[in-house]
Amino acid sequence: MTELWEGLVTAVKLIISLDPEVMEIAGRSLAISATSSTIAALICLPLGAVIHSNKFPGKRTLINIVQTLFSLPTVAVGLFVFVLFSRAGPIGGLDIMFTPVAMVIGQVILISPIMLGLTISALSGVDKAIADTAISLGASGLQTAVITLREARFAVLAGLIMGFGRAISEVGLSLMVGGNIAGFTRTITTAISLETSKGDLELALALGIILIVIALVINLVLNRVQQR
């Protein structure tokens, strides 16, 4: 018990003193997840608008599949990326296994269904008359999509934040394709899971506290956005 208490005290000291190792790991986590969220958003916003505004056979099924993939297991994505980029894999020559690039690719695959699904459902929450009004005022297809996204901006933003939240908190994928290499691919979650087993409880606790604070901030922002 005292061991845990002392560990917590040291962990808080590490955070308050802006310990370089803690800050570096937290910063990398944020950077990798922000990058993958941005890339996923750039894919999912236009794709969501296209799927929303077009009628095609199998649309309902496609949306169902996307929604099923919300809870895609991180290790499954990890395995997929591993097989794809490992030396023996089809594009192993790129040599990106155990780099942040592989982690970003994995996270993009992981969170795209969430962002895409929530973008589509945000758009379908917009009154059909909004698109009709835009079209009748001379908007092109692209201009209509932009104004519809704008009308759904709070719900769309909530979807993007959910995606970021999933990216920063997952561990299985980062561990499998990143490898927890110190100073290179070590992130909050991979550090916690590996340092704990090595007995470095203070570092793990400090990072755990930071992760919880990030989760809290995300939730606060999400609540504010959803109340609009």
Partner: protein, 362 residues
């Protein structure tokens, strides 16, 4: 022959496999005010959406200014940018009134200075200038309607579509909006196509009226024509001809015919031959009531008892049972002078020329 600005050739539309608009052939001429009138569910909105190129017809073709715009995407966008549409239930974008009205111009890539000037002019026309910085979502129904009108006007459309511009509004907002519309109609050279189920609004604003029922245009013509000489029973009913009597022509003396209405004979002017099954249409305001038979030149006088009396605004509607029910309208004043009351005996009189004869269609 000059080409109409918008022309439809046998257009139809179906939802869920069912035709709700059939073989509509309609010409909208440049500069005219055309009112589409018809009961709820008749297909007015659907037809306007086809004319504004918001929907592609299931059958037939649409021409705009001589171009076939039935399904060519880029031609449709080009044509649509020369028109605008105020929806039946207008919605505003979640942004300021200014930005709402500016949207159409931004989409046309107009210069900011042009936009500023056109937006303020449109808002002034719609009497909404003081709301320019409000978030449009906070406006009342009538204010929203006027912003929607300003937004549609800002793009200086060649054709303005208005779908029930005053439905669900109180009389004061209605007259305010009608004032705005009258101004647009008088001031600009805009072609206006409006849908309404309000016959008198159509009469007040339109040069030409099309009556639509069950997805078919039954009659087009000037408001006067539609009002005084409806060509079908359904149209007659819709424009407020309350007396529609079914009978057969039994005699003819030049153009004066005698019609047997279930044993009662009425006289009218018509070209139809003896034996023709017809409807005799008589507007209630063309019937006069008197306490005794007088020697007027009117050919049709019927004795009857008053079955019902009910006031409508400043007028009184009187139903007289004279072998067939006849509805007359008199002013409150003359109802008092005649001391009309239920069961009182009266003489209902109308001229042969007040009877409009149409062939029975079924």
């Amino acid at each position: 022959m000059t080409m109409a600005l918008i022309e439809t050739v046998n257009i139809g539309q179906k939802y869920a496999g069912q035709y709700i608009l059939k073989d509509v052939n309609l010409n909208i001429n440049r500069g005219e005010v055309f009112a589409l009138i018809g009961p709820t569910g008749a297909g007015k909105t659907t037809l306007l959406r086809l004319l504004d190129l918001l929907e592609v017809p299931a059958s037939g073709s649409v021409y705009f200014d001589g171009m076939d715009v039935t399904d060519n995407k880029s031609l449709r966008l080009q044509a649509r940018r020369r028109m605008s549409f105020v929806l039946q239930k207008p919605v505003v974008f979640n942004m300021s009134v200014y930005n709402n009205v500016a949207c159409g111009l931004r989409w046309r890539r107009e210069k900011e200075a042009t936009i500023r000037q056109r937006v303020s002019r449109a808002l002034e026309l719609a009497d909404m200038a003081e709301y320019i910085n409000r978030n449009a979502r906070t406006l009342s129904g009538g204010e929203t309607q006027r912003v929607a009108i300003a937004r549609a006007l800002a793009v200086a459309p060649e054709v303005l579509f208005l779908d029930e511009p005053t439905a669900n509004l109180d009389p004061i907002s209605t007259s305010k909006i009608e004032e705005v519309l009258a101004h647009i109609i008088g001031d600009q050279k805009t072609t206006v196509v409006m849908a309404t189920h309000n016959m008198s609004q159509g009469q007040r604003l339109a040069d030409r009226i099309g009556v639509i029922m069950n997805g078919e245009i039954l009659q087009t013509g000037s408001p006067g024509d539609i009002f005084s000489t409806p060509q079908k029973k359904e149209v007659a009913e819709f424009v407020g001809v309350d007396n529609i009597l079914s009978g057969v022509i039994v005699n003819r003396d030049n153009e004066l015919v005698t019609i047997d209405i279930g044993g009662n004979l009425i006289q009218a002017i018509s070209d139809y031959p003896i034996g023709e099954e017809v409807h005799a249409l008589i507007r209630p305001e063309d019937i006069t009531l008197a306490p005794r038979k007088d020697a007027s030149s009117a050919r049709n006088t019927f004795e009857g008892r008053i079955a019902r009396i009910f006031p409508v605004g400043a007028l009184v509607r009187v139903e007289v049972a004279c072998g067939f029910p006849l509805l007359a309208v008199v002013t409150k004043r003359s109802a008092e002078d005649l001391s009309l009351a239920v069961n009182k005996r009266v003489y209902a009189t109308f001229k042969a020329t007040a009877v409009h004869i149409i062939k029975r269609w079924n």
